[in-house]
């Protein structure tokens, strides 16, 4: 049995910390892949062939995920800078994290719909 002492009982800040790490790591991994696929510009036909894959439904879903990760990391990063600059803001940290999540969803959902639009319209698959 897992000893209870190893379980984190972190609150909002702990989830924000974890979310920031995970999204940062994922965006970095995508960045590595993206630099490699863009380097194919050296061979225009190959670039266009590989690039067309990004229009695939599965990769579009992946792009929606990337967008959410990017948005969360961005707004949470702004929250961190804000708390550094105005330490008093820690008092409202739960509220601040809620704002981060709300902004991520409010921009991520319509953005996701735009990215998935060709599929929703039935032009894909």
């Amino acid at each position: 049995m897992t000893p209870a002492s190893t379980r984190y009982k972190g609150k909002a800040g702990q989830w924000a910390f974890l979310g920031h790490r995970v999204t940062g790591f994922l965006v970095f991994l995508f960045l590595l892949l993206h630099i490699v696929d863009v380097s194919l510009l050296r061979w225009p036909e190959t670039y266009d062939q590989v690039h067309r894959l990004y229009g695939n439904v599965l990769l579009r879903l992946f792009e929606v995920g990337l967008f959410f990760a990017l948005l969360f990391h961005t707004f949470n990063g702004v929250r961190i800078v804000a708390v550094d600059m105005f330490p008093e803001a820690v008092r409202n940290q739960r509220r601040l994290l809620q704002a981060v999540v709300a902004l991520t969803v409010a921009i991520g959902v319509p953005g996701g719909v735009v990215i998935m639009w060709p599929f929703i319209e039935g032009r894909l698959l």
Binding site: S39, L70, I80
Partner: protein
């Protein structure tokens, strides 16, 4: 009138103005904030152009050629490349320090991280620089 004497120069400090010498980790902390704030604009504008304003399938070779006809967009993309990679590199360095406890293994993982990032800075920079200024 009371005179206040300047504090004695700190041992090892270069300036005698009593200013605290910043440690490399403090610089890394500040870099994360500054590069992060720049990336708010660079990354979100880049993503909006390539996925929201235009559909991803439209951003083919000709799209890039038209965009990179303007050197300012090349500069924009290069700034994004360098800042995103260094911001990510520093973040991963912190993650490695937290989770890879064995000194030898930590050194190896960091070496791999620096190597891969270094190669990609070069590949990305060459991609932007070597792209012809005239369409194919």
């Amino acid at each position: 009138m009371k005179t206040v004497e300047a504090p004695p120069p700190r041992p090892g400090g270069r300036s005698g103005r009593g200013r605290r010498k910043r440690s490399p980790e403090a610089l890394s902390w500040a870099f994360m904030r500054l590069s992060g704030l720049a990336l708010v604009f660079l990354a979100l504008i880049h993503f909006s152009i390539t996925h929201i304003v235009n559909d991803v399938v439209e951003t083919d070779y000709d799209f890039v050629a038209e965009r990179w006809h303007n050197p300012l967009w090349r500069l924009f993309d290069w700034a994004l490349l360098v800042l995103a990679l260094s911001h990510g590199l520093n973040g991963l360095r912190w993650i490695v320090d937290d989770y890879v406890r064995d000194p030898g293994r930590r050194k190896a993982v960091k070496g791999l991280l620096y190597g891969v990032t270094g190669v990609l800075v070069i590949v990305g920079t060459l991609t932007i620089l070597a792209f012809p200024s005239r369409p194919r």
